[in-house]
């Protein structure tokens, strides 16, 4: 175990020296990888920030449920209000709903008279024509899709006349975010392929430069694991260097973007903030880049060693 650790640290040190000894190609590779990784990373950060906007929007959105059709001449006003309260209690049972507020017909009429110039007109009517209302407060975490589903459920409920909800621009925003997210996914996949190809290529060059060493080690009894080890470190370290450069690029870009975007959001009186990279995302970027580097080295070397072994068998 101690020998194993000693050996790994030694290979790590040697591989770092190997990278440091050719600073030009090491830096160039890190920059190319960094640019490739930073693109999906920035897209992801922007989509993530947009999601936090929708979260905020839901706080203000309520669904108004009108109960009816009222046939006031057949139902006593007291009884009708009772009916509306029952519906309100049913609505409160729905998991997506956080609260329900009951507004009686009388209250609706009062509000209407106070807010509208048509108030006097209604005074002339014998009966109050306005239906009672339920104001439904959805859970704050709901996204637009859940909201429209909730609206459909409410509209289909017995005793409900109509449902009103301002959802258009919510849905639009949601669609834009979905597009951004698929864009991020596509970019990330392309990035992953690019990173694997780039690192695979540098590993191939490394194999060519060290083919004599590989052959000697193979000859004196080095296992495939032993032969692979420095190259796996090489690929992994290159992946990490690319990840670090990508984080620097993304942080700079987001820093430059933050002011104009927040200003723009302010114009829409919205709380849209592009936050710089948090620890979780940064960690994930480094881990993923390291993993891609390792994979690239593993496959490139696997192919090389298999070829070397097969040629001994005359294949």
């Amino acid at each position: 175990m101690k020998v194993w650790l000693q050996r790994h640290l030694q290979v790590l040190g040697e591989t770092l020296m190997w990278l440091v000894r050719s600073p030009g190609s090491t830096l160039t590779t890190a920059l190319i990888l960094g640019v490739a990784i930073s693109l999906p990373l920035m897209l992801f950060k922007v989509s993530q920030s947009m999601m936090s906007v929708t979260g905020k929007l839901n706080e203000d959105s309520v669904i108004t449920v009108y109960v009816g059709p009222g046939k006031p001449e057949q139902v006593e006003p007291m009884k009708e209000d009772q009916l509306v309260i029952e519906i309100g209690q049913k609505i409160l049972q729905i998991p997506l709903v956080s609260d329900v507020e009951y507004v009686s017909r009388a209250q609706v009429l009062k509000d209407f008279q106070m807010e509208s110039e048509l108030g006097d007109l209604i005074d002339d009517l014998e009966e109050n024509p306005l239906p009672a209302m339920l104001i439904v407060f959805p859970e704050k975490s709901l996204i637009a899709a859940d909201l429209s589903q909730l609206v459909t459920v409410l509209a289909d409920m017995e005793g409900v006349d109509s449902v009103s909800y301002d959802q258009q621009w919510q849905e639009r925003l949601q669609a834009i975010i979905a597009a951004f997210m698929s864009g991020t996914l596509i970019m990330a996949s392309l990035m992953a392929i690019g990173v694997v190809l780039i690192i695979s290529n540098t590993v191939r060059l490394g194999i060519l430069n060290r083919s004599q060493e590989i052959q000697i080690i193979d000859q004196i009894g080095g296992t495939a694991t032993f032969i692979r080890r420095p190259f796996l470190y090489f690929g992994t370290l290159q992946g990490i260097s690319g990840g670090i450069v990508a984080l620097l690029i993304a942080m700079l870009a987001l820093f430059l973007l933050a002011r104009p975007v927040n200003h723009l959001a302010g114009l829409y009186s919205s709380e849209f903030r592009i936050n710089l990279l948090d620890l979780e995302v940064s960690g994930a970027v480094i881990v993923v880049s390291a993993l891609l580097g390792w994979l690239a080295a593993r496959f490139t070397l696997g192919g090389y060693i298999a070829k070397m072994r097969a040629s001994a068998r005359g294949k």
């Binding site: 101690k2 020998v3 194993w4 000693q6 050996r7 030694q10 004599q212 060493e213 052959q215 000697i216 080690i217 193979d218 000859q219 004196i220 009894g221 080095g222 296992t223 495939a224 694991t225 032993f226 072994r309 001994a312 068998r313 005359g314």
Partner: protein
């Protein structure tokens, strides 16, 4: 012991480097493998280290058919063999001591033991004072002795040398040969491929002669 049973080796391109070779080399022996250039000497050694695999027939080492070995079993098999090459095959960016220690590092030995045994091996070939130097600063004879130290550092059962004196002048060649006889006295099975006829009349050594991929002389049969 090493045994070849009706071994055929055909390289890609169709040429048969070995044609139905059957030999038996006893444990602890020292053997000269001789023949003109292209006779198949190197091929015999490569089949023993599994650098090449027999096209037909069997190569047995300690009664095991080594052509059945795969993956890490091949690596383990090679650790029981020390190889010396005409061109030394030393790594230019490692010191003499690091080169000699390489088989031990590969076998997973700790740094301190590696260094100690590498120095002991260098001492045996008379080069301990050069252990911090790099191979390209050494003479051809010294490089070859470093190669020998590397071959024996892992205390192999078998020591194979492919034209180890090919590039050396006669006095140096004699010195190198003496080293092989020395290691043979420590119960190591030694096979030396050479077309240097000056060494062949040593009565302590067995002789295998190859001609066009076939055995033309065998002191063991």
């Amino acid at each position: 012991m090493i045994e070849f049973k009706q071994v055929v080796k055909r390289y890609p391109g169709g040429l048969d480097a070995l044609r139905h070779v059957s030999v038996f080399i006893p444990r602890g022996s020292i053997t000269f493998l001789t023949g003109h250039s292209g006779a198949g000497k190197s091929t015999v050694l490569k089949l023993i280290t599994l650098s090449e695999v027999a096209t037909r027939g069997q190569v047995l080492v300690n009664d095991e058919d080594i052509s059945l070995f795969r993956g890490d079993r091949i690596a383990l098999h090679r650790r029981t063999i020390g190889s010396v090459f005409q061109d030394h095959k030393l790594l230019p960016d490692k010191t003499v001591e690091e080169n000699v220690a390489l088989p031990l590092v590969v076998a997973g030995m700790g740094n301190r033991d590696c260094a100690r045994r590498a120095r002991a091996a260098l001492d045996k070939v008379g080069l301990l004072k050069l252990c911090r130097r790099f191979p390209q600063t050494l003479s051809a004879g010294e490089q070859q002795r470093v190669g020998i130290a590397r071959a024996v550092v892992g205390r192999p059962d078998i020591l194979l040398a492919d034209e180890p004196t090919g590039n050396l002048d006669p006095e140096l060649a004699d010195e190198i040969m003496k080293l092989f006889f020395l290691f043979n006295q420590h119960d190591v099975t030694v096979i030396i491929a050479t077309h240097d006829y000056r060494h062949l009349n040593n009565p302590a050594a067995g002789l295998l002669a190859l001609e066009n991929g076939q055995i033309s002389g065998d002191s063991y049969s």
